[in-house]
């Protein structure tokens, strides 16, 4: 890819060779109308509005690639005629009751109809019955649908659910005269539009997907609307608060759309969450889990006084990573001042893991991020239930496969139909728990540069290889000669007579043959099927950029140190670029800012977690705290970005900064600490108010700032341990949440209605004598819990999932630290 110059409407612009003309134009603020195209997805070619003239030829800007010296004109007499006719076609049978449409005011059909100056209609076709349909969290109104297929494209190319498709409309054919009288592209576009509507791939009545709502976000008209939002507010009434999603480590750009609650109540309320869907895709938690604020009537002075007392008494602060960087900094400052122990097991595990990783890699942080993973074409995921741990990592994996013609490799013990559904080029390997080291060794074996790799690792890897003789069946082509009788005219007599002729023919023949092949015992250990290597080779063809996503299973693994070192080796000696998924929203920020302790002392103040005195943004503690949507501050994301977030709605109670000020720290606002975040860890001395939160037209992210990846001194020791053959067997439990749930905060949101309980796959339920709804006792070595069985069709296989989002179910008690454990399950 090299830089080239093209000319659009007389303006010289610089772009990448092979970039679509539309993207090149958008990046340079040149307007080309287009409805169906989505940045980061493949061109759909449904709307045909982006018609331009490139070097005298009419092309579609969304799928025509730029070439050096190309001259593009965005309009001509013919193109204007086409565009006007296309917009008229879109308006055929489109209801004019914009007043009762939720998209009114931000509707692309409205905008383009005005833009093209459509003031009269020339076309008509008989409409079909288009009744609106309730798909659960999404409402589809086919009467408003212009079948641009943006929803289908987003679902397929970005999300990977493939839940939507076009279905037959069942309309009358267009009148024949239009073919002659209409502009050509407009007619072709109408002909296609008139045959289709949007429907569910599953053929069911209700949507059964991972419920991200991205389809409704990208819908240019009011055809797809979030059910909760219908008729509750108009686009122009909503004030947009730029923010960062506080649910997981992806740190997605969002805006909270707020308006007064009602005529009687002028307090602001969040009506919906929007995103810049061309550049960032949300998951269901981000989109629908917005009302987790902690509503407090006033400052509770008595509780505040008690909190101060508790802080004076306490020797430990226990907290979770659902806090901002500034709050983490406050806690660290309190530690430095009063010697509190800071206890946060999940951030501590991640911190230790990062430190172990640094010992070989020489950098504080992993080298890659999800943005770059979108552009890779071979992605491996290891040690994470990717769809629920970090939905954006899954989008990156899917997007790289669909748009870059990439392939993926998914290592995890829990069988996942959602991942399998991403497409043909994803390979899954469901290894046994505790075998993650073998997985990393396999990756080293398959992809590392053996010449540079430390020799003891090379020889260790070689010990798994042996040669074996296998009998293979092969089909070869063999030449045979056969004699056939043909009728031929005798030239002399002029009569037909039978003549024998020799003919040569190739026929396939099956033979068996013995060949010596390489046998990789690692594959057998991990339970790969026989075709694995063959398939992998096929998938690796034409791949040149490799990304590895590593997840939280590794951080709490008993041999996490070795895993961290192996990851560093992979990053160092193979083409793979590494991204790690921080466990919770701000685990990375906390791991960088706080010095964490392992053991709690005698008296604990808990922040969003149970302590002897509990501060809680969940509203269940001794003193209320603001939730992330009520706070200003920054969050550190998986992309190593420090993203600013703003308070969407007011908070009337006390916050951590008030306590800190009483205890002797001094800051008017908690965001005064933003510029004091430790530069030694990669933070920058930037004021909160100077942090941007937006994307450029070309997709460049201007959000907060990127952390510096600080260099770390290494000892030069690159040794790694061999892996053991320990495996967890028996009935296995895994600590993971369903998609759309992360923490008790997501559980608080009214639109996220996941039922909590013990999740079993349909496959497992049908094999066992458990039924959905049964109350069971799950018992492991470290604890037990009683909960109801929930049937989960987003997992398959035998491993049972225990969630952490419901504080009523204390799943943590059953696990020592590793996310898997063996357990017994019995009915109560």
């Amino acid at each position: 890819m090299s830089k080239i110059t093209i000319n659009i409407d007389g303006k010289e612009i610089e772009t990448q060779e092979g970039e679509y003309i539309l993207n090149a134009a958008r990046a340079n603020n040149i307007f080309i109308p287009a409805i169906c195209y989505l940045s980061r997805c493949s061109p759909t070619l449904a709307c045909r509005l982006c018609l331009v003239e490139a070097d005298g030829k009419q092309v579609y800007a969304c799928n025509a690639k730029s070439k050096e010296g190309m001259s593009v004109s965005t309009s001509s007499e013919n193109i204007i005629k086409e565009r006007r006719a296309i917009m008229e076609v879109y308006d055929v049978n489109h209801p004019l009751q914009c007043g009762v449409c939720d998209q009114s005011g931000e509707c692309e059909l409205q905008n383009y109809t005005l833009e093209m100056g459509v003031d009269a209609q020339h076309y008509a076709v008989k409409d079909v019955n288009r009744k609106d349909i309730d798909w659960g969290h999404i409402h589809y109104n086919p009467g408003l649908c212009i079948v641009c297929e943006r929803c289908v494209t987003a679902c397929k190319d970005m999300i990977g659910d493939n839940a939507l498709k076009t279905v037959a409309r069942g309309a009358d054919a267009l009148e024949a005269e239009y073919k002659e009288s209409m502009p050509k592209d407009a007619y072709a576009m109408w002909n296609k539009l008139n045959k289709s509507l949007i429907g569910l791939t599953s053929g069911e009545e209700m949507l059964d997907c991972t419920s991200c709502g991205e389809c409704a976000a990208v819908c240019p008209v009011g055809a797809l609307v979030d059910t909760h939002f219908i008729y509750s507010a108009n686009a122009w009434e909503l004030k947009q608060i730029p923010a960062t999603c506080g649910h997981c480590s992806a740190g997605c750009q969002i805006s909270y759309d707020v308006k007064h609650t009602s005529i009687d109540n002028t307090d602001e309320k969040i009506y919906r969450v929007m995103n810049e869907w061309n550049y960032v895709s949300l998951c269901g938690a981000g989109r629908y889990g917005f009302d987790y604020q902690n509503e407090v009537k006033s400052k509770d002075t008595a509780a505040f006084a008690k909190a101060l007392e508790a802080f004076k008494k306490a020797d430990t602060i226990k907290f979770t990573s659902t806090i901002t960087n500034e709050e983490a900094f406050v806690l660290q400052s309190l530690k430095e001042k009063f010697g509190y122990k800071l206890v946060n097991s999940e951030a501590k595990a991640f911190q230790t893991f990062l430190n172990d990783y640094s010992q070989i890699s020489g950098t504080k942080l992993y080298g890659y991020d999800l943005e770059a993973t979108h552009n890779a074409n071979f992605v491996i995921s290891v040690g994470t239930a990717i769809k629920s741990d970090n939905p954006n990592a899954r989008y990156a994996l899917n997007n790289s496969m669909t748009v870059n013609k990439g392939a993926g490799l998914y290592f995890h013990p829990v069988k996942d139909p959602v991942i399998e559904g991403l497409g043909k080029s994803i390979m899954t390997m469901y290894h046994a728990p505790l075998q993650e080291e073998a997985v990393l060794y396999l990756i080293l074996d398959l992809f590392a540069d053996k010449e540079r790799l430390p020799s003891d690792v090379v020889s260790y890897l070689a010990s798994f290889h042996s040669q074996k003789t296998v009998t293979v069946e092969e089909i070869i082509k063999e030449e045979i000669t056969e004699i056939v009788k043909v009728m031929k005219k005798n030239e002399e007599s002029g009569e037909e007579e039978e003549v024998e002729e020799e003919k040569k023919k190739m026929v396939p023949k099956k033979i068996t043959k013995e060949v010596i092949v390489d046998d990789n015992r690692l594959l057998a250990i991990l339970g790969a099927d026989e075709k694995f290597m063959e398939e992998l080779e096929k998938n690796l063809a034409k791949k040149d950029s490799f990304a590895l996503i590593a997840g939280p299973d590794l951080y709490t693994h008993p041999n996490s140190k070795n895993l961290a070192r192996l990851l560093a080796l992979i990053e160092k000696y193979s083409a793979f670029e590494l991204t790690m998924i921080p466990t919770l929203t701000n685990s990375l920020g906390v791991a960088l800012i706080c010095e964490l302790n392992d053991e709690a002392g005698s008296y604990t103040v808990g922040y969003n977690t149970k302590g002897d005195f509990t501060l809680s943004a969940l509203g269940d503690g001794d003193l209320d705290m603001p939730a992330i949507n009520q706070q200003e501050g920054t969050l550190t994301s998986i992309n190593k970005r420090v993203n600013p977030t703003n308070a969407a709605i007011g908070y009337k109670g006390y916050e951590l900064n008030d306590i800190a000020n009483e205890l002797g720290l001094k800051a008017d606002l908690v965001i005064d600490y933003t510029q004091m975040l430790p530069t030694s860890k990669g933070f920058k001395t930037k004021e909160f108010d100077s942090l941007p939160n937006r994307y450029d037209n070309d997709g460049t992210e201007h959000r907060g700032y990127l952390l510096d990846n600080v260099a770390v001194k290494t000892s030069g020791d690159k040794s790694v341990l061999k892996f053991g053959d320990e495996k967890l067997v028996g009935t296995l439990i895994y600590m993971a949440n369903p998609v759309r749930q992360f923490t008790p905060f997501t559980n608080k949101a009214t639109n996220l209605d996941e039922v909590s309980g013990v999740y079993m796959s349909e496959e497992f339920l049908s094999k066992s004598d458990f039924n959905e709804g049964d109350t069971v006792r799950v018992k492991s070595l470290s604890g037990e819990l009683v909960a109801n069985i929930v049937s989960d069709n987003k997992i398959s296989g035998d491993i049972v999932l225990l969630p952490t989002f419901d504080s009523k179910i204390n799943s943590e008690a059953l696990f020592s630290s590793y996310r898997f454990a063996t357990a017994s399950i019995e009915k109560v």
């Binding site: 009751q97 007043g99 076309y123 008989k126 009148e175 008729y231």
Partner: protein, 211 residues
């Protein structure tokens, strides 16, 4: 023709050119000295014009030709385009409310005195759950009536806004044409801005239909 005449009349402001209809009022020079001023006062006071006025009153009193309106017992008729307190109209065909809750009146209101709450009702339609206008803030500009796509919100003739407090809110139900009035067929249409003009049909571009 009539319009042209008016236009000509109003566009030409040059008084000197229009000979017949305009004349200069004859104003005598103001007295400058004290004696002159005294004479003017006497002249104006005792000219008997006072009794002319008194006679007119007396005459009308005897004739009982009284023009005084006995407000509030009597009220002047209000023109159909007058913009006083808002009304919410119903549909003639079905008696149902015309307002669809689009929120355009709320948006266009320059004194920001209208607020609407809407929701999805059981019949999958947009329902107006609450609608309020702060009359203390309303400047009766008529934009809301003009922008309303359904001719639902209009101005009425009710101009008595006296209230014991500055904020005086009027709710949807207060403005809505009562059903009995509707049944009696006495709902009045508003003829001001936003109403349908007599020649509307000629201006509409027809959309082809395939039926």
């Amino acid at each position: 023709m009539h319009n042209e005449h008016i236009q000509e009349h109003f566009n030409n402001r040059n008084v000197t050119e229009l000979d017949s209809n305009y004349y200069m009022v004859d104003i005598a020079a103001y007295p400058t000295d004290g004696w002159g001023k005294f004479k003017r006062v006497v002249k104006r006071s005792f000219r008997g014009e006072l009794f002319v006025g008194l006679w007119v009153v007396l005459r009308e009193m005897i004739k009982f030709d009284v023009h005084t309106i006995q407000y509030p017992a009597e009220k002047m008729p209000i023109g159909p385009r007058y913009r006083a307190v808002h009304e919410m109209k119903r549909l003639w065909e079905s008696d149902t409310e015309r307002c669809i809750g689009c929120g355009l009146c709320e948006k266009i209101c320059i004194s920001n005195c209208i607020r609407i709450d809407t929701k999805l009702d059981e019949n999958s339609r947009k329902e107006v759950t609450e609608y309020s206008i702060n009359l203390g803030r309303c400047i009766f500009c008529g934009y809301c009536a003009e922008v309303c796509p359904e001719l639902a919100i209009t101005h009425g003739g009710e101009y008595e806004n006296a209230s014991d407090q500055r904020e005086h809110f009027i709710m949807y139900q207060d403005m809505l044409t009562p059903l009995d009035k509707m049944k009696a067929g006495t709902q009045l249409e508003f003829e001001g801005f936003g109403a349908i003009t007599p020649h509307e049909d000629e201006r509409v571009k027809k959309t082809p239909l395939a039926y």
